[in-house]
Symmetry: C2
Subunit: 358 residues, 2 copies
């Protein structure tokens, strides 16, 4: 596979060659529309097709975007050469300026203009933005017996007190030196991850705990994918029992439509879902601590019923059950049994007996 | 000072004594209203007064809250005895149940009922909720040359790669074994903290970097306060130049009205504000990368103009300048100069020459 620098230079060189031949230069941009995205059943994730458009310099409908594309590509090339990383908002600010000789024509008016250009480049060059040395917003932490090497530093993520390791936005360059775990448990809320840390769940069950603190950010997704692939650890997802939690699972497993073209780098198609499920309410006697679904939740569930990867018998039954009962159930509701219930009974029982929703 | 367990037991014993005397038992609750909060100019933070109310069991307007208070106090007592910690949402779920002998009378209907009871207890017993073994939601990370001991673990927060240490919600029990730093730099956004980590700002300037990722959560505030107090490090705050950023600074420095009664445990009255300021726009030639203030921002600034701690000449001038110019300036806008500008020039220049807004 070509190195990222080579791809960026090739992009520039092609434009130059066209100019030297006196032609109107263009850049090939892979299409990101729904029509170019499909669900690959065998691979188990969303994939991108081959459709592309040509972005021409001399087509005034294209000119602005053409120049923005070259500007961003050239900036990323510099970042890589200097071994620096920039946030996507930094990139926007770094490149924003009034074009010389114009009165008030800015390269970018706001970040909504620069973000899609980054996605265009990722897609058309088939690289992750992290490989362009662009860093995603970060959130989430990792706790468990894994030794990570980052630059000069080497540390064990089970030796950082109750805090754990704050996962950076870019994990391309870290190495996993040693792992002593049977699986990765991805947990939606920090409160639940902290419960499991306090109960010594990681030690007792040989688990790595990853708190994603809401929808999993790119750094966390890439971290999960890399540990899964390089260390052959299964991924088990534990979220609230509601459409938002199920969507977190869905993103980790199959990717999102917006990032479909990166699915193979970010998704873990054989992720398992351990809970919460609507069935858990009856199984564990949690009727007293459910919450009512809102209108927006109901709407979201109806959308999820249509997702290809939720078309299995079990998921269809579960989603319809949620609609019928009209309730949701949170991870933390398990505290109603006892604080240690989730760590001593709920999770071990389900995980060891492989009671997953699939 | 009495231990927390003793305070909780005293609360229970007093109720019992009243019952044994055949009296209608009550609990003294310190008032949390604005009328009982004032700004102590000498101390430099918000303080709580001596006004209290009596919450009676047999007053039907009080009965529900009276019982909830005892329920929460008793649960916290158990937590402390078992050396366990619970999130405030876990507490809600743990205590929620239908009262025996009633048809559908629940102890709590939602968390909006249990949260104020926790605040009542903190205030009336003069303890932090962390001391009641209740854990706040966590966010934020710490990077820099400080050795922390948490339980059996001891680690240096400058040896954790680019990630840093994820700050837990409860930092009461950690110890600072060794610190090699001149000051604490509190940074609003993760993107900026990551920029400074990449530029080796912590090493070059002997700084501890704390990313609060928005409004500083309690764990982060308490961490800052403890390092400041125990290790005598000054606190310097670096936020976006907008009303939201200034409010982050204000909370770290003076506390919030809601948590005024905890100010002395959470605030650092002599925190310094390094930026961003509206003056920075002209000083550093950032006119091209400002953003327009929205209606809500303008309203927020007008409110801040009335805060006692923003009544200084410099802050009044600054806030009025923001209103006049109608713009805001983000930390990351400094990338417009160059990525390393903030680390090589902006911050060192301002910090070493003590160019703070006060």
């Amino acid at each position: 596979m070509k190195k990222v620098e080579e791809k960026l230079e090739e992009l520039g060189r092609k434009v130059l060659e066209q100019l030297e031949k006196g032609r109107d230069p263009y850049i090939k941009i892979t299409q990101r529309s729904l029509g170019n995205v499909s669900y690959d059943k065998d691979k188990g994730f969303l994939v991108i097709g081959n459709k592309y458009s040509k972005r021409y310099y001399l087509n005034i409908a294209h000119t602005r975007k053409f120049m923005q594309t070259l500007l961003v590509a050239s900036y990323c090339n510099e970042l890589i050469k200097e071994n620096k990383h920039a946030g996507i908002r930094e990139l926007y600010y770094a490149l924003k300026h009034t074009i010389e000789g114009t009165k008030k024509e800015n390269t970018f008016e706001n970040q909504d203009e620069s973000n899609p250009i980054i996605e265009d480049l990722e897609l058309s060059l088939n690289v992750l933005r992290e490989e362009l040395n662009l860093t995603a917003d970060r959130r989430g932490y990792l706790y468990g017996d894994i030794v990570i090497k980052d630059g000069e530093d080497e540390f064990n993520c089970s030796k950082l007190g109750r805090g754990g390791w704050a996962v950076p936005g870019n994990v391309e360059e870290i190495e996993f030196k040693r792992v002593n775990a049977r699986y990765i448990l991805v947990v939606e809320t920090a409160a639940m991850a902290d419960r499991l840390i306090e109960e010594k769940f990681a030690q007792k069950n040989k688990a790595l705990i990853v708190a994603c603190q809401g929808q999993a950010p790119r750094g966390v997704r890439r971290l999960i994918k890399r540990i899964h692939k390089e260390k052959k650890l299964p991924v088990i997802v534990f979220t609230d029992g509601d459409p938002y939690g199920w969507y977190i699972y869905s993103t980790i497993k199959q990717g999102s439509i917006n990032l479909a073209y990166l699915s193979n780098r970010l998704s873990v198609p054989d992720s398992k879902f351990v809970g919460m499920t609507i069935d858990d309410i009856e199984t564990y006697g949690l009727e007293n601590v459910t919450e009512k679904l809102k209108e927006t939740d109901l709407k979201r569930i109806k959308e999820e019923l249509e997702y290809p990867w939720f078309k299995t018998k079990e998921w269809q039954r579960q989603l319809k059950l949620a609609l019928k009962k009209g309730v949701r159930i949170e991870q933390q509701a398990l505290a109603n049994k006892s604080l240690s219930f989730v760590a001593d009974k709920y999770l071990p029982e389900k995980i060891e007996n492989e009671i997953f929703l699939s």
